[in-house]
Symmetry: C2
Subunit: 359 residues, 2 copies
């Protein structure tokens, strides 16, 4: 094995080394079963124990009540952009979307494409998504309110979640689920592609309040039907078995770190180090407004595009990978998900100081 | 590592050991990149090379012309049961389905659920799906003809594919893609969940004739839209990157075996051994009609349910796993996909002879 580098990619993203080592160790023979987890029937007792445990851990770690159920589906957030309006729309009601960035916009466009009534209740597009739009009133005719909890491209994140009263709050948490403590029981539904804080790409975690399952109509694709997949405990069809196994391992890793509070504490330390370095410099300009900064994706610019290119090239050569900002806004982006060690952030800051000095 | 057993599971199923060893070796550091394949951006050059190569190998190994494109989507065959009618239905036309088993029936039910015009043109339900219904005429108003090329539950398989003229032939080949040579250029679209002959569950291979992409309407879920996913070379959204990587490895394994003709030759040898053993015994009764027998799933009964239970329990204890027939028909099922070695089939036959003798 060569040397592992520090991977600041926005996702798929760095994973805990101990999780990778477990996968490696169990690859040809899962716990004496004589086969890989990938070769195992999804109807076997062994796999069933894995999916049942993962389902419970996903809820337990965040403190979901027993009114919620976890589903492991496929298709990522893009699939859920369709699944949410297909399942949760209601006759005579309108879905409300808060547009805080590109992914929110894509969710809106998918609802529109599918012909479901919707409105954009608040948006921060006018200031190039540098802040989270939190000032809005939910309509009485709202079917649900959809937010994107963290915006990977702009580096913004909801600091406090809105109170939507009796209207179900639905959140795409693909890029910040499991990064910090919050009250999950205020949500109607949370979904997340696993590939940032929870596992590999190809498995989508959905936690849904059980009373909402009754909304699923019969005439939508079965693979998207929350009610049917909930009744079958995510085993209506063959799921991404390997992906669910890895999610299970990552959930155990979070517990072993000391749980969500300890993970949050370290995430806040990592983010503070990096934002302090940006704020203490006239060379680097943070992209997101101070009140909307993300713990997961830190975005900034250098004085020129030329310097940004140089920064990225030299950082890559120094073993700091994946720092190129999203093509839509350019600049630099450091994604510091749960599995990014403090040492990676420290090394990055050291590199930033050296780069600034010599530039 | 403990001992590997012979895994006759219908899917997820046994995989080539050399593929598992490669995955194991590359788990923490893919070819000196300093990270796992699972941690790598799907927009990286390295991953792009993997998906582009896999896309080409999927076509090359079977001999698809350049009029076809491979897509790697998510959701398995169940997802495609919806995607096919959503994409390929046409105004004023009717989708035709050949019902050769449970999976065909599910495909029909999904088209019905989505309100697309369809008819069941031929079915073998009356004889409990012991044969493939090949005697039918395709209507002039057919949007497409859908078949299931291999029926895992009943152990039946199309021996020669039907001629549907100018009407696109669509096949669910989840359980026998890459098991034998056939002319793929007679098909409009082939889809397969990867978890039998091509990789792990969670990645769906679709090979579509490019002219059919124009049929995709705009108002369907993007994740299912063949045209959009084709334009973006399966990277519209984050795909199952690990799954695609494994499919790439399995395609290389097929080439290293000597290609599809050599794989077919061995599959025919394995199946012949097993069917000869069944035909040479009065104790075991094959389920499928002789003219419709599957190379991949061999199904049979013992003289009583009690003996079947005993057979399965003793086989499992002897390291022959996954032999229990599907709950809908009971009995015994040996799935002998590409990666099942001849030694596994020989050991099974030896076990069967011993079991018959002492029963």
């Amino acid at each position: 094995m060569g040397q592992r580098i520090f991977n600041f990619s926005a996702g798929p993203a760095t994973m805990p080394v101990t999780v990778l080592e477990t996968i490696q160790r169990e690859m040809l023979d899962y716990k004496g079963e004589g086969m890989s987890i990938m070769e195992m029937s999804h109807r076997s007792k062994t796999f069933d124990a894995i999916v049942v445990e993962a389902e419970a851990l996903v809820r337990e770690i965040m403190g979901f009540s027993d009114q919620y159920q976890t589903l492991f589906l496929q298709g990522g957030a893009t699939g859920q952009f369709a699944a949410v309006p297909l399942n949760l729309s209601q006759p005579g009601k309108v879905a409300e979307y808060i547009d805080s960035g590109s992914w929110s916009s894509k969710a809106v466009k998918e609802a529109e494409k599918l012909g479901k009534p919707f409105r954009v209740t608040a948006a921060s597009k006018a200031d190039k998504y540098r802040h989270i739009p939190t000032d809005f009133v939910v309509g009485k005719d709202a079917a649900y309110v959809h937010i994107t909890s963290n915006n990977t491209i702009y580096g913004t994140q909801w600091q406090n979640f809105p109170d939507t009263g009796s209207v179900p709050l639905v959140a795409d948490m693909s890029s910040d689920f499991y990064c910090k403590r919050f009250d999950p029981n205020r949500f109607g539904l949370i979904y997340a592609g696993a590939q940032k804080n929870a596992g590999p790409s190809g498995v989508t975690i959905i936690v849904v309040r059980k009373d909402l399952l009754a909304r699923s109509p019969k005439d939508i694709p079965t693979i998207f039907n929350y009610q049917i997949n909930a009744e079958k405990n995510s085993l209506y069809n063959t799921p991404n078995t390997f992906g669910i196994y890895v999610v299970n391992l990552v959930m155990h890793w979070i517990k072993n770190q000391g749980g969500i509070d300890q993970v949050e504490k370290i995430n806040r330390q990592k983010a503070k180090l990096l934002y302090d370095a940006l704020d203490g410099s006239d060379f680097y300009r943070p992209y997101a407004d101070a009140g909307s900064r993300s713990l997961m994706n830190v975005t900034w610019n250098c004085p020129s595009e030329e310097l940004e290119k140089k920064f990225i090239a030299e950082a890559t050569a120094a073993g700091l990978s994946g720092l190129k900002g999203h093509r839509s806004i350019g600049g630099i982006r450091a994604s510091i998900y749960n599995a990014m060690p403090m040492a990676g952030v420290e090394r990055l800051i050291e590199f930033m100081r050296d780069f600034e000095k010599k530039s």
